[in-house]
């Protein structure tokens, strides 16, 4: 399941909801992304996440489908927030569930690596010197690329 929302999420509640009544799940892996308080050596006062309503949901659904195709997963949850966030705020949650740990751990990393460069979000950091758009990082493309299969062409 995917959710794109302005409001915060509660990891405990989300995981409880996922596992309730599903005792076939043997492993859960989760990732939470947070707003850092510094960019380089400058303090961030807030971060605003812009997204592409409609396409964001489609793109996250495609990512979930791809993960389910590659790994034996019993459940997938991706929550991505948008709007104005403060340092320390949660931005994104990825939870994957599988019978054994390998599939959930690997697919969780795959999803967050792909989100970085394939989910239509753009981050604007507010600092004392003004607002600055976050540039994509080369290492994020490298991280995403290692999941591209040779057979994908």
């Amino acid at each position: 399941m995917i959710r794109v929302q302005g409001e915060d999420f509660d990891i405990g509640v989300e995981i409880a909801r996922m596992t309730e009544g599903n005792t076939e799940i043997g492993a859960l892996a989760s990732f939470v992304g947070l707003v850092r308080d510094y960019a380089g050596d400058e303090a961030i006062t807030s971060m605003t996440l812009e997204h592409y309503p409609g396409m964001t949901e489609k793109q996250l659904e495609r990512l979930e489908a791809e993960a389910r195709k590659r790994w034996d997963l019993q459940d997938v949850l991706i929550i991505h927030r948008y709007g104005k966030l403060m340092p320390g705020d949660r931005i994104v949650l990825v939870v994957t569930a599988s019978p054994h740990r390998g599939a959930s751990l690997e697919s969780c990393q795959f999803l967050i690596d792909w989100l970085k460069t394939n989910a239509p979000f753009w981050k604007l950091e507010d600092m004392d010197s003004g607002a600055k758009w976050v540039e994509s990082r080369q290492e994020d493309f490298v991280a995403a690329d290692r999941w591209v299969r040779v057979t994908d062409g």
Partner: protein, 83 residues
Amino acid sequence: MQILYFGWVRSRIGHGKEELKLPAGIDTVAGLIHWLKSRGDGYAHAFVDSDVIRAAVNQEIAPHNTAIAEGDEVALFPPMTGG
């Protein structure tokens, strides 16, 4: 045609959405970007380095050689920074 802008493409152009009639002969994303460049300083600034611009046609990631036509929704934006 509905055109959407995000991230610094939007902030340089000054708005996030517009309805435009495609001039004759513009039939790819690359052609659209090239034509938009001539529409003013904000556009010229947004598309100064057109190679870094990413596009989506009807909400699907689309390379610059993708065909476009009236009725399509085209979005132009910087590389995505999700997660």
